[in-house]
Amino acid sequence: MPANARFLEAATLLVGVLIWIASAAAATPEPLAVHEIAPGVFVHQGRYELFTPRNEGDVSNAGFIVGRDGVAVIDTGGSPRIGASLLAAIRARTPLPIKYVINTHMHPDHVFGNVAFEAEKPTFVGHHKLPRALAARAQRYLAINKELLGNEAFAGERIIAPTLLIDDKLELDLGDRTLLLEAQKTAHTDNDLTVLDKKTGTLFLGDILFVEHVPALDGSIRGWLALLDQLKQRTDIARVVPGHGPASVPWPAAMAAEQRYLGRIADDVRALIKQGKTIQEAMATAGLSEKDAWLLFPEYHARNVSAAFAELEWE
């Protein structure tokens, strides 16, 4: 066999091996890093970033709670790939069936991983307004985020809406472990759902709480501030899991910064509306004292002011 033919053969083999390794890596993703923040309660901390092909949609917190009979997943990450990595993290810890996949609200970084859990045949759970919110936005969410995430992370994405809907409150039993699900009034979005693990007093707040990552307003600033006040009074909470921020934070101390941020925007915007200023003027000036207190401030702040203005000008 001539030397160049042998070389070709070797090269072909090498390429084949590389393709095999690459496809094997895609089929069994590495487990996400998770912290056990309370016995049987695991949380993965997402990065403080926008969607990029590089982070594959790993920009929000996701978690799971293990009971005697099964597992409940709370949010699934921002892509099928992150969802699969979360599933791998669960399977590294328990063979129990995944009974529920709960979404805290409609945003892609919390629901795009749902599809990775479909084969486990869980019941998908959400706020009673979540299916409508997803239906109205699905077309746009898919188009925009396919571009942001890139083909690899996005591959296989389908939006899966919940079938078990929470109108007000519902308890789910995982065996020796009860979760209290509560549909909240419009705050971060109009479909925010909180999940309390009664056994440990761990409350998953979804994006009702942002820590370090600047809050993003897509619901009602008045509703959000009112909800924080109400949650502050509760005595059944030992710790909370924010939608963006450290895996576990103390309550109510951890909400002080967000309450201050939203309050500052509401105060500034109300004052500007009273002075007859425009939405453009408000977007350029309101809440700027918060600039150095948050990550991703330039990415979200002006939009938050725009949303707050469009709401508060009707007061």
């Binding site: 890596a25 895609a26 299916p131 239906a135 109009d190 469009a310 009707w314």
Partner: protein
């Protein structure tokens, strides 16, 4: 986290690069302006950026469904301006709104501001026609995407429940009038989802039917300040801020009609709710 060598990704990158190289070639052919100029303005000459009309728009929209635009016309020609046409070139229906000015719009510097949806990176153009039949234009490029297919409302129940509510505010002039005739400023806000007909409900696979405010008349003491024919590009809860002649104390009266045949009325004499 994943294997570094991925031949598929390299191939994709090459394909994407090739696609981009080709797609950038016929850019001129994609320019929608010649067709719009022909269809809307009969291919008449349009003077550009000649100081008769100015347009303020953000270069990058923070929220593509709520992009604030402000147009200004100097006092020197305000009286001669008959109409103002607002064009968003790349929107599905490029004519966003056509304003007709009346007697009560006044003779001082004229300002008109509204909020629009912008579907993709696009030129936005404000074109005025003066009584001598001439056209003048100001243009701004705005980076935005998804404004027309954006779901209506951050709180959908609230949007539908409060449809038709109107709020009309008048403002004291920020600075005392100088050389130009005395003008005042007001704002008309109408609660309406302004469904574009492009918002798809993925559950039913049907588009939410178009439901928009299509005609608004703003008058004072029986005299027209302006009227506007609006399209799907006007944001949810249509919002107009404008100047008007200050003389007299008559309230501002607004009549709005939507595509379902509903009529909404309001006056600045009403207490804001």
């Amino acid at each position: 986290m994943h294997v570094a060598v991925n031949p598929g990704r390299l191939l994709l990158t090459l394909v994407a690069a090739a696609a981009m190289a080709f797609s950038s070639l016929p850019a001129r052919a994609d320019d929608p302006w010649p067709d719009i100029k022909r269809d809307v303005f009969d291919n008449r000459d349009i003077a550009e950026e000649d100081g008769t009309i100015s347009l303020d728009a953000p270069y990058r929209a923070e929220d593509a469904a709520v992009v604030p635009l402000t147009m200004r016309i100097p006092a020197s020609i305000a009286r001669d301006v008959k109409t103002l046409t607002l064009i968003i070139e790349k929107n599905p229906a490029p004519v966003a709104a056509t304003f007709h000015f009346g007697e009560a719009a006044g003779a001082g510097e004229r300002m008109l501001s509204t909020r629009v949806r912008i579907d993709m990176y696009s030129n936005v153009r404000a074109v005025i026609e003066t009584t001598d039949g001439k056209l003048h234009m100001a243009t701004k490029y705005v980076k935005a995407s998804g404004g027309c297919s954006a779901a209506a409302g951050k709180d959908m129940d609230e949007a539908l429940a409060s449809m038709g509510k109107m709020q009309i505010r008048t403002f004291e002039p920020a600075t005392p009038p100088t050389s130009s005739p005395d003008m005042r400023e007001a704002q008309v806000m109408i609660r309406h989802p302004n469904f574009t007909g492009m918002q798809m409900d993925q559950l039913t696979r049907e588009f939410t039917p178009m439901k928009i405010v299509q005609e608004i008349e703003v008058k004072r003491g029986g005299q027209l300040i302006f009227s506007v024919e609006g399209g799907i590009s006007i944001s949810e809860n249509p919002n107009f801020r404008f100047t008007f002649a200050a003389e007299g104390s008559a309230p501002i009266e607004v009549t709005a009609k939507d595509t379902d045949g509903r009529t909404f009325t309001g006056t600045s004499a009403d207490k804001a709710t």
